[in-house]
Symmetry: C2
Subunit: 199 residues, 2 copies
Amino acid sequence: MIEDTKALEDLKRALKRLPGVGAKSAQRMAFHLLGRDRDAARNIAHALLHAVERIGHCQRCNNFSETETCAICRSARRDTGLLCVVESPADLVSLEQSGAFSGTYFVLMGRLSPLDGIGPDELGLPKLEALLDGGTVREVILATNATVEGEATAHYIGELARRRNLLATRIACGVPIGGELEYIDRGTLARAFSGRREA
Amino acid sequence: MIEDTKALEDLKRALKRLPGVGAKSAQRMAFHLLGRDRDAARNIAHALLHAVERIGHCQRCNNFSETETCAICRSARRDTGLLCVVESPADLVSLEQSGAFSGTYFVLMGRLSPLDGIGPDELGLPKLEALLDGGTVREVILATNATVEGEATAHYIGELARRRNLLATRIACGVPIGGELEYIDRGTLARAFSGRREA
Protein backbone atom coordinates (compact mmCIF):
# COMPACT_ATOMS: atom_id res chain seq x y z
CA MET A 1 0.00 0.00 0.00
CA ILE A 2 1.40 3.34 -0.94
CA GLU A 3 1.22 5.56 2.05
CA ASP A 4 3.45 8.29 3.09
CA THR A 5 2.76 8.22 6.72
CA LYS A 6 4.85 6.02 8.93
CA ALA A 7 3.34 7.83 11.92
CA LEU A 8 -0.12 6.85 10.70
CA GLU A 9 0.83 3.21 10.25
CA ASP A 10 2.40 3.20 13.71
CA LEU A 11 -0.78 4.71 15.16
CA LYS A 12 -3.01 2.11 13.50
CA ARG A 13 -0.76 -0.68 14.76
CA ALA A 14 -0.80 0.77 18.29
CA LEU A 15 -4.60 1.17 18.33
CA LYS A 16 -4.98 -2.46 17.27
CA ARG A 17 -3.55 -3.41 20.66
CA LEU A 18 -6.79 -2.21 22.26
CA PRO A 19 -9.07 -5.15 23.09
CA GLY A 20 -11.78 -5.69 20.49
CA VAL A 21 -10.13 -3.40 17.93
CA GLY A 22 -9.15 -4.88 14.56
CA ALA A 23 -7.45 -3.34 11.54
CA LYS A 24 -10.61 -1.66 10.23
CA SER A 25 -11.60 -0.12 13.57
CA ALA A 26 -8.04 1.01 14.23
CA GLN A 27 -7.99 2.82 10.89
CA ARG A 28 -11.38 4.38 11.58
CA MET A 29 -10.18 5.59 14.98
CA ALA A 30 -6.94 6.97 13.57
CA PHE A 31 -8.67 8.85 10.74
CA HIS A 32 -11.35 10.16 13.07
CA LEU A 33 -8.84 11.49 15.59
CA LEU A 34 -6.52 13.00 12.99
CA GLY A 35 -9.26 14.43 10.82
CA ARG A 36 -11.80 15.62 13.33
CA ASP A 37 -10.62 15.47 16.91
CA ARG A 38 -6.93 15.99 17.49
CA ASP A 39 -7.77 17.34 20.89
CA ALA A 40 -9.23 13.93 21.81
CA ALA A 41 -6.04 12.25 20.58
CA ARG A 42 -3.95 14.38 22.93
CA ASN A 43 -6.45 13.86 25.73
CA ILE A 44 -6.35 10.06 25.36
CA ALA A 45 -2.55 10.04 25.18
CA HIS A 46 -2.15 12.06 28.35
CA ALA A 47 -4.84 10.09 30.21
CA LEU A 48 -3.07 6.85 29.29
CA LEU A 49 0.34 8.04 30.42
CA HIS A 50 -1.08 9.52 33.60
CA ALA A 51 -3.06 6.36 34.43
CA VAL A 52 -0.14 4.03 33.80
CA GLU A 53 2.02 6.15 36.05
CA ARG A 54 -0.45 6.71 38.86
CA ILE A 55 -2.59 3.61 39.14
CA GLY A 56 -1.27 0.69 41.14
CA HIS A 57 -3.02 -1.93 43.24
CA CYS A 58 -4.64 -1.59 46.67
CA GLN A 59 -2.43 -3.36 49.17
CA ARG A 60 -5.44 -5.00 50.83
CA CYS A 61 -7.90 -5.93 48.09
CA ASN A 62 -5.65 -5.83 45.04
CA ASN A 63 -8.06 -3.64 43.05
CA PHE A 64 -6.72 -0.75 40.99
CA SER A 65 -6.04 2.24 43.21
CA GLU A 66 -4.13 5.47 43.13
CA THR A 67 -3.60 5.32 46.86
CA GLU A 68 -1.91 2.56 48.84
CA THR A 69 -5.27 1.40 50.20
CA CYS A 70 -8.38 1.96 48.09
CA ALA A 71 -11.48 3.92 49.13
CA ILE A 72 -13.59 0.80 49.68
CA CYS A 73 -11.03 -0.79 51.98
CA ARG A 74 -10.62 2.49 53.88
CA SER A 75 -14.34 3.16 54.25
CA ALA A 76 -15.73 2.84 57.78
CA ARG A 77 -19.14 1.98 56.30
CA ARG A 78 -18.02 -1.27 54.71
CA ASP A 79 -18.23 -4.53 56.66
CA THR A 80 -14.70 -5.94 56.66
CA GLY A 81 -16.10 -9.22 58.02
CA LEU A 82 -17.55 -9.95 54.56
CA LEU A 83 -14.98 -10.56 51.85
CA CYS A 84 -16.23 -10.94 48.28
CA VAL A 85 -13.71 -12.56 45.94
CA VAL A 86 -14.01 -11.53 42.28
CA GLU A 87 -11.92 -12.24 39.22
CA SER A 88 -11.55 -8.72 37.87
CA PRO A 89 -11.99 -5.01 38.61
CA ALA A 90 -14.82 -4.99 36.07
CA ASP A 91 -16.69 -7.61 38.16
CA LEU A 92 -16.21 -5.41 41.22
CA VAL A 93 -17.66 -2.42 39.35
CA SER A 94 -20.71 -4.48 38.33
CA LEU A 95 -21.31 -5.66 41.90
CA GLU A 96 -20.95 -2.11 43.23
CA GLN A 97 -23.45 -0.89 40.66
CA SER A 98 -25.93 -3.57 41.79
CA GLY A 99 -25.80 -2.02 45.27
CA ALA A 100 -26.25 -5.50 46.74
CA PHE A 101 -23.08 -5.65 48.79
CA SER A 102 -21.62 -3.51 51.53
CA GLY A 103 -18.65 -5.65 52.52
CA THR A 104 -15.14 -5.56 51.09
CA TYR A 105 -13.53 -7.25 48.12
CA PHE A 106 -10.53 -9.19 47.01
CA VAL A 107 -9.72 -8.92 43.31
CA LEU A 108 -7.88 -11.95 41.93
CA MET A 109 -6.90 -10.27 38.64
CA GLY A 110 -7.53 -13.58 36.89
CA ARG A 111 -8.60 -17.13 37.67
CA LEU A 112 -6.90 -20.46 38.21
CA SER A 113 -6.04 -21.84 34.81
CA PRO A 114 -3.44 -24.63 35.04
CA LEU A 115 -3.35 -25.02 31.24
CA ASP A 116 -2.19 -21.39 30.95
CA GLY A 117 0.27 -21.86 33.79
CA ILE A 118 -1.78 -19.82 36.25
CA GLY A 119 -1.67 -21.56 39.61
CA PRO A 120 -2.34 -20.27 43.15
CA ASP A 121 0.96 -18.39 43.35
CA GLU A 122 0.58 -16.65 39.98
CA LEU A 123 -2.89 -15.55 41.08
CA GLY A 124 -1.59 -13.93 44.26
CA LEU A 125 -3.47 -16.32 46.52
CA PRO A 126 -0.83 -16.05 49.27
CA LYS A 127 -1.92 -12.43 49.62
CA LEU A 128 -5.54 -13.57 49.97
CA GLU A 129 -4.52 -16.20 52.54
CA ALA A 130 -2.73 -13.55 54.60
CA LEU A 131 -5.94 -11.50 54.55
CA LEU A 132 -7.99 -14.52 55.67
CA ASP A 133 -5.44 -15.12 58.48
CA GLY A 134 -5.83 -11.48 59.58
CA GLY A 135 -8.78 -12.26 61.85
CA THR A 136 -11.34 -9.77 60.54
CA VAL A 137 -13.00 -11.86 57.82
CA ARG A 138 -16.00 -14.00 58.88
CA GLU A 139 -17.43 -14.98 55.51
CA VAL A 140 -15.83 -15.39 52.12
CA ILE A 141 -18.31 -14.83 49.28
CA LEU A 142 -17.07 -16.55 46.13
CA ALA A 143 -18.18 -14.35 43.23
CA THR A 144 -15.96 -15.68 40.48
CA ASN A 145 -17.57 -16.25 37.07
CA ALA A 146 -19.90 -19.20 36.49
CA THR A 147 -17.43 -20.72 34.04
CA VAL A 148 -15.45 -23.93 34.45
CA GLU A 149 -12.37 -22.00 35.51
CA GLY A 150 -14.35 -19.64 37.72
CA GLU A 151 -15.97 -22.60 39.48
CA ALA A 152 -12.61 -24.29 40.00
CA THR A 153 -11.18 -21.08 41.42
CA ALA A 154 -14.16 -20.70 43.76
CA HIS A 155 -13.76 -24.30 44.88
CA TYR A 156 -10.08 -23.81 45.63
CA ILE A 157 -10.58 -20.59 47.58
CA GLY A 158 -13.54 -22.12 49.41
CA GLU A 159 -11.16 -24.77 50.69
CA LEU A 160 -8.71 -22.09 51.86
CA ALA A 161 -11.55 -20.47 53.83
CA ARG A 162 -12.93 -23.66 55.36
CA ARG A 163 -9.45 -24.70 56.44
CA ARG A 164 -9.47 -21.54 58.58
CA ASN A 165 -12.98 -22.26 59.91
CA LEU A 166 -14.41 -19.35 57.90
CA LEU A 167 -17.79 -19.55 56.21
CA ALA A 168 -17.44 -19.83 52.44
CA THR A 169 -20.49 -19.06 50.28
CA ARG A 170 -21.01 -19.06 46.51
CA ILE A 171 -23.26 -16.59 44.68
CA ALA A 172 -26.42 -18.26 43.32
CA CYS A 173 -26.66 -19.61 39.80
CA GLY A 174 -30.04 -19.77 38.11
CA VAL A 175 -32.49 -18.09 35.78
CA PRO A 176 -31.69 -14.38 35.19
CA ILE A 177 -34.38 -11.89 36.27
CA GLY A 178 -36.74 -11.42 33.34
CA GLY A 179 -35.50 -14.64 31.75
CA GLU A 180 -37.97 -16.87 29.94
CA LEU A 181 -37.41 -20.57 30.56
CA GLU A 182 -37.92 -21.35 26.87
CA TYR A 183 -34.73 -19.51 26.00
CA ILE A 184 -32.51 -20.50 28.94
CA ASP A 185 -29.75 -23.03 28.26
CA ARG A 186 -29.96 -26.50 29.78
CA GLY A 187 -27.01 -26.09 32.13
CA THR A 188 -28.53 -23.01 33.74
CA LEU A 189 -31.94 -24.68 34.07
CA ALA A 190 -30.35 -27.71 35.74
CA ARG A 191 -28.55 -25.42 38.20
CA ALA A 192 -31.77 -23.48 38.85
CA PHE A 193 -33.49 -26.76 39.73
CA SER A 194 -30.77 -28.17 41.93
CA GLY A 195 -30.51 -24.81 43.69
CA ARG A 196 -34.26 -24.42 44.33
CA ARG A 197 -35.37 -23.03 47.68
CA GLU A 198 -38.59 -23.16 49.67
CA ALA A 199 -40.94 -20.47 48.33
CA MET B 1 -19.78 4.71 42.54
CA ILE B 2 -17.02 4.44 45.07
CA GLU B 3 -13.75 4.48 43.26
CA ASP B 4 -10.48 5.76 44.34
CA THR B 5 -9.01 6.41 40.99
CA LYS B 6 -9.52 9.75 39.39
CA ALA B 7 -6.88 8.78 36.84
CA LEU B 8 -8.96 5.73 35.94
CA GLU B 9 -12.13 7.75 35.53
CA ASP B 10 -10.25 10.26 33.39
CA LEU B 11 -8.90 7.43 31.25
CA LYS B 12 -12.35 5.90 30.72
CA ARG B 13 -13.75 9.31 29.79
CA ALA B 14 -10.89 9.90 27.34
CA LEU B 15 -11.27 6.47 25.69
CA LYS B 16 -14.98 7.12 25.19
CA ARG B 17 -13.97 9.83 22.74
CA LEU B 18 -12.83 7.12 20.32
CA PRO B 19 -15.45 6.51 17.62
CA GLY B 20 -17.64 3.51 18.36
CA VAL B 21 -16.49 3.23 21.97
CA GLY B 22 -19.11 3.53 24.72
CA ALA B 23 -18.84 3.40 28.50
CA LYS B 24 -18.60 -0.38 28.69
CA SER B 25 -15.93 -0.71 25.99
CA ALA B 26 -13.95 2.17 27.46
CA GLN B 27 -13.89 0.45 30.83
CA ARG B 28 -12.89 -2.84 29.24
CA MET B 29 -10.05 -1.12 27.38
CA ALA B 30 -8.87 0.71 30.50
CA PHE B 31 -8.87 -2.43 32.65
CA HIS B 32 -7.19 -4.47 29.94
CA LEU B 33 -4.40 -1.94 29.46
CA LEU B 34 -3.82 -1.35 33.17
CA GLY B 35 -4.10 -4.98 34.17
CA ARG B 36 -2.40 -6.78 31.34
CA ASP B 37 -0.68 -4.52 28.89
CA ARG B 38 0.75 -1.30 30.27
CA ASP B 39 3.31 -1.41 27.51
CA ALA B 40 0.50 -1.10 24.96
CA ALA B 41 -0.90 1.88 26.87
CA ARG B 42 2.42 3.70 26.60
CA ASN B 43 2.76 2.63 22.96
CA ILE B 44 -0.69 3.99 22.06
CA ALA B 45 -0.05 7.24 23.93
CA HIS B 46 3.24 7.90 22.18
CA ALA B 47 1.85 6.91 18.76
CA LEU B 48 -1.04 9.34 19.25
CA LEU B 49 1.17 12.24 20.27
CA HIS B 50 3.63 11.50 17.47
CA ALA B 51 0.89 11.23 14.85
CA VAL B 52 -0.84 14.43 15.94
CA GLU B 53 2.43 16.26 15.76
CA ARG B 54 3.72 14.83 12.51
CA ILE B 55 0.74 14.22 10.28
CA GLY B 56 -0.61 17.11 8.26
CA HIS B 57 -2.28 17.27 4.87
CA CYS B 58 -0.73 16.88 1.43
CA GLN B 59 -0.68 20.30 -0.20
CA ARG B 60 -1.91 18.85 -3.51
CA CYS B 61 -4.46 16.14 -2.68
CA ASN B 62 -5.34 17.05 0.89
CA ASN B 63 -4.82 13.47 2.15
CA PHE B 64 -3.00 12.87 5.42
CA SER B 65 0.73 13.10 4.90
CA GLU B 66 3.87 13.52 6.92
CA THR B 67 5.54 15.27 4.04
CA GLU B 68 4.41 18.42 2.28
CA THR B 69 3.37 16.41 -0.78
CA CYS B 70 2.29 12.79 -0.29
CA ALA B 71 3.86 9.74 -1.90
CA ILE B 72 1.00 9.24 -4.37
CA CYS B 73 1.18 12.83 -5.62
CA ARG B 74 4.98 12.60 -5.89
CA SER B 75 5.00 9.25 -7.68
CA ALA B 76 6.07 9.33 -11.33
CA ARG B 77 3.99 6.20 -11.97
CA ARG B 78 0.65 7.87 -11.23
CA ASP B 79 -1.29 9.53 -14.01
CA THR B 80 -1.84 13.12 -12.85
CA GLY B 81 -4.31 13.58 -15.70
CA LEU B 82 -6.83 11.45 -13.79
CA LEU B 83 -8.12 12.99 -10.59
CA CYS B 84 -10.32 10.85 -8.36
CA VAL B 85 -12.31 12.86 -5.82
CA VAL B 86 -13.17 10.98 -2.59
CA GLU B 87 -14.79 12.06 0.64
CA SER B 88 -12.29 10.60 3.10
CA PRO B 89 -8.81 9.10 3.52
CA ALA B 90 -10.52 5.77 4.31
CA ASP B 91 -12.18 5.83 0.88
CA LEU B 92 -8.78 6.45 -0.69
CA VAL B 93 -7.32 3.45 1.17
CA SER B 94 -10.18 1.24 -0.08
CA LEU B 95 -9.67 2.36 -3.68
CA GLU B 96 -5.92 1.81 -3.43
CA GLN B 97 -6.53 -1.68 -2.07
CA SER B 98 -8.80 -2.45 -5.03
CA GLY B 99 -5.85 -1.77 -7.31
CA ALA B 100 -8.26 -0.36 -9.89
CA PHE B 101 -6.84 3.12 -10.14
CA SER B 102 -3.46 4.51 -11.03
CA GLY B 103 -4.26 8.21 -11.18
CA THR B 104 -4.16 10.72 -8.35
CA TYR B 105 -6.68 11.76 -5.73
CA PHE B 106 -8.29 14.72 -4.11
CA VAL B 107 -9.60 14.08 -0.60
CA LEU B 108 -12.50 16.35 0.37
CA MET B 109 -12.39 15.46 4.09
CA GLY B 110 -16.18 15.57 4.12
CA ARG B 111 -19.09 16.22 1.81
CA LEU B 112 -21.39 19.10 1.03
CA SER B 113 -23.99 19.24 3.74
CA PRO B 114 -25.79 22.60 3.83
CA LEU B 115 -27.87 21.56 6.86
CA ASP B 116 -24.66 21.12 8.85
CA GLY B 117 -23.27 24.38 7.50
CA ILE B 118 -20.78 22.67 5.21
CA GLY B 119 -20.71 24.52 1.91
CA PRO B 120 -18.11 24.65 -0.87
CA ASP B 121 -15.74 26.86 1.11
CA GLU B 122 -15.85 24.76 4.28
CA LEU B 123 -15.07 21.72 2.15
CA GLY B 124 -11.96 23.30 0.68
CA LEU B 125 -13.33 23.32 -2.84
CA PRO B 126 -11.32 26.44 -3.79
CA LYS B 127 -8.22 24.24 -3.36
CA LEU B 128 -9.76 21.66 -5.71
CA GLU B 129 -10.65 24.38 -8.21
CA ALA B 130 -7.07 25.62 -8.19
CA LEU B 131 -5.93 22.07 -8.95
CA LEU B 132 -8.43 21.81 -11.83
CA ASP B 133 -7.16 25.14 -13.16
CA GLY B 134 -3.58 23.83 -13.02
CA GLY B 135 -3.78 22.34 -16.50
CA THR B 136 -2.70 18.73 -15.79
CA VAL B 137 -6.09 17.19 -15.01
CA ARG B 138 -8.03 15.73 -17.99
CA GLU B 139 -10.72 13.73 -16.20
CA VAL B 140 -12.32 14.13 -12.81
CA ILE B 141 -13.62 10.83 -11.44
CA LEU B 142 -16.32 11.49 -8.86
CA ALA B 143 -15.97 8.75 -6.24
CA THR B 144 -17.98 10.25 -3.42
CA ASN B 145 -20.34 7.93 -1.55
CA ALA B 146 -23.62 6.81 -3.12
CA THR B 147 -25.59 8.69 -0.48
CA VAL B 148 -27.78 11.75 -0.96
CA GLU B 149 -25.03 14.06 0.23
CA GLY B 150 -22.35 12.20 -1.70
CA GLU B 151 -24.42 12.48 -4.91
CA ALA B 152 -25.01 16.19 -4.33
CA THR B 153 -21.29 16.71 -3.77
CA ALA B 154 -20.47 14.76 -6.95
CA HIS B 155 -22.98 16.83 -8.91
CA TYR B 156 -21.50 20.10 -7.66
CA ILE B 157 -17.90 19.10 -8.41
CA GLY B 158 -18.97 17.71 -11.78
CA GLU B 159 -20.22 21.19 -12.63
CA LEU B 160 -16.89 22.71 -11.59
CA ALA B 161 -15.10 20.31 -13.96
CA ARG B 162 -17.45 20.80 -16.91
CA ARG B 163 -17.19 24.57 -16.55
CA ARG B 164 -13.45 24.09 -17.23
CA ASN B 165 -14.14 21.76 -20.19
CA LEU B 166 -12.81 18.79 -18.23
CA LEU B 167 -14.40 15.35 -18.48
CA ALA B 168 -16.33 14.49 -15.31
CA THR B 169 -17.26 10.86 -14.68
CA ARG B 170 -19.08 9.14 -11.82
CA ILE B 171 -18.21 5.66 -10.54
CA ALA B 172 -20.89 3.10 -11.44
CA CYS B 173 -23.75 2.23 -9.12
CA GLY B 174 -25.31 -1.20 -9.35
CA VAL B 175 -25.44 -4.73 -8.02
CA PRO B 176 -22.34 -5.62 -5.93
CA ILE B 177 -20.21 -8.52 -7.21
CA GLY B 178 -21.62 -11.74 -5.75
CA GLY B 179 -24.89 -9.99 -4.97
CA GLU B 180 -28.16 -11.88 -5.39
CA LEU B 181 -30.94 -9.80 -6.91
CA GLU B 182 -33.44 -11.19 -4.41
CA TYR B 183 -31.66 -9.41 -1.57
CA ILE B 184 -30.72 -6.14 -3.26
CA ASP B 185 -32.68 -3.04 -2.29
CA ARG B 186 -35.02 -1.40 -4.79
CA GLY B 187 -32.98 1.77 -5.20
CA THR B 188 -29.87 -0.16 -6.17
CA LEU B 189 -31.81 -2.37 -8.60
CA ALA B 190 -33.36 0.70 -10.25
CA ARG B 191 -29.87 2.21 -10.65
CA ALA B 192 -28.51 -1.05 -12.02
CA PHE B 193 -31.27 -1.01 -14.66
CA SER B 194 -30.93 2.60 -15.67
CA GLY B 195 -27.14 2.16 -15.86
CA ARG B 196 -27.25 -1.02 -18.00
CA ARG B 197 -24.68 -1.37 -20.78
CA GLU B 198 -24.46 -3.45 -23.92
CA ALA B 199 -23.20 -6.92 -22.99
